[in-house]
Symmetry: C2
Subunit: 205 residues, 2 copies
């Protein structure tokens, strides 16, 4: 693209570095900002640079936080003996939205993925094992997505925990509530039959 | 969405003000920036705020420009007697890419659209009429998109030019080069027959 303005070109170039934003979309977004009051652009740039320079990771669970200890870890009413292992903050938000979980989290920051060059040392796995060693945790719930990378990561952590006295569990896989059986994939349906639960316990939730 | 961090929440909120970017996409983009070096975010925010605060509109054609007079208007080799009327800088870039046009532009900044509350006074129409009155322009080429709004805008300008000695034309509508006749819509095909051109002139381009 041939821009008549260096300022415009630079803004489009930086915007198109974002994932899923091509040059055309970047130009559309930047031209939109030019039509809006100057205030809107400055609020956006302030919010982004404040976030990037001031954000912290909770020193206990590694979740994104404004403070040294995140709101969840600092909350005295949460059950500190149960830790749910997730990939990133989006999973924390999804589980928090259910209102069904009262324990803490441990945010790995990704999944083991040799294809993307991510090994165990790039993830917050060691601090999880250390926490277990200190003996304060009773149960670990694996809640990574059930992909090859997720399963690999689960298994790696599981092996690291060998010999330590800890209960491990994984979130239940099965047919989504409201879904028709006939459209479910075989693996999910097969697992949901193998891991069937007593009828009375399904009445509770 | 329930964010554990006010900084994150603010950044997602500002990002989701952009057109076509929902809260979920905004969160994905912001988390991406957090994973990248701090430099990338600062380059993005600098580029955006520099653009918004320093950009100018060319005082002749109203195109986006770093200088008072844009590169095209300042170029002594361009034909100053022909002016192509377009909606915004994207149209200028599209026409410049063809390498077929040597005249100047006049960027309206939009189209007349009562539905969106855009009337003639919000567009750069008066300065176009003034330029014609000064008698330096010989031909105006209308190159707005052929929508209801585009046609309305063309017609409004055309009426304003009544009584002034000026040649007006509009870009040719027809079958795209390489397209199959059978898939063309009737209006386009009908116009391309009505406005047929001498065979010899089709050999030139």
């Amino acid at each position: 693209m041939d821009f008549s303005s260096k300022l415009l070109e630079q803004a489009v170039l930086e915007m198109s570095q974002l994932p899923g934003i091509g040059k055309r979309t970047a130009l559309r977004l930047v031209l939109h900002l030019l039509k809006q009051p100057e205030m809107q652009t400055l609020q956006l740039t302030d919010a982004l640079s404040n976030l990037r320079t001031q954000i912290k990771l909770c020193k206990n669970c590694h979740n994104i936080s404004d403070t040294d200890l995140c709101e969840i870890c600092a909350n005295p009413t949460r059950v500190k003996e149960i830790v749910c292992v997730v990939e990133d903050i989006r999973d924390v938000m999804a589980i928090e939205n259910t209102g069904q979980y009262r324990g803490l989290y441990h945010v790995l920051g990704g999944k083991i993925s040799p294809m993307d060059g991510i090994g165990p040392s790039q993830l917050k796995i060691k601090s999880l094992i250390d926490k277990v060693r200190e003996g304060e945790i009773e149960e670990i719930i694996f809640a990574l997505s059930s992909t090859l990378e997720g399963d690999t990561t689960n298994f790696y952590i599981f092996k690291q925990l060998e010999g330590l006295e800890i209960k491990t569990s994984t979130i239940a896989r099965g047919i989504s509530v409201g879904d028709e059986l006939e459209y479910a994939d075989e693996v999910t349906l097969g697992r949901s039959i193998a891991n069937r639960v007593p009828f009375e316990s399904s009445l509770k939730s």
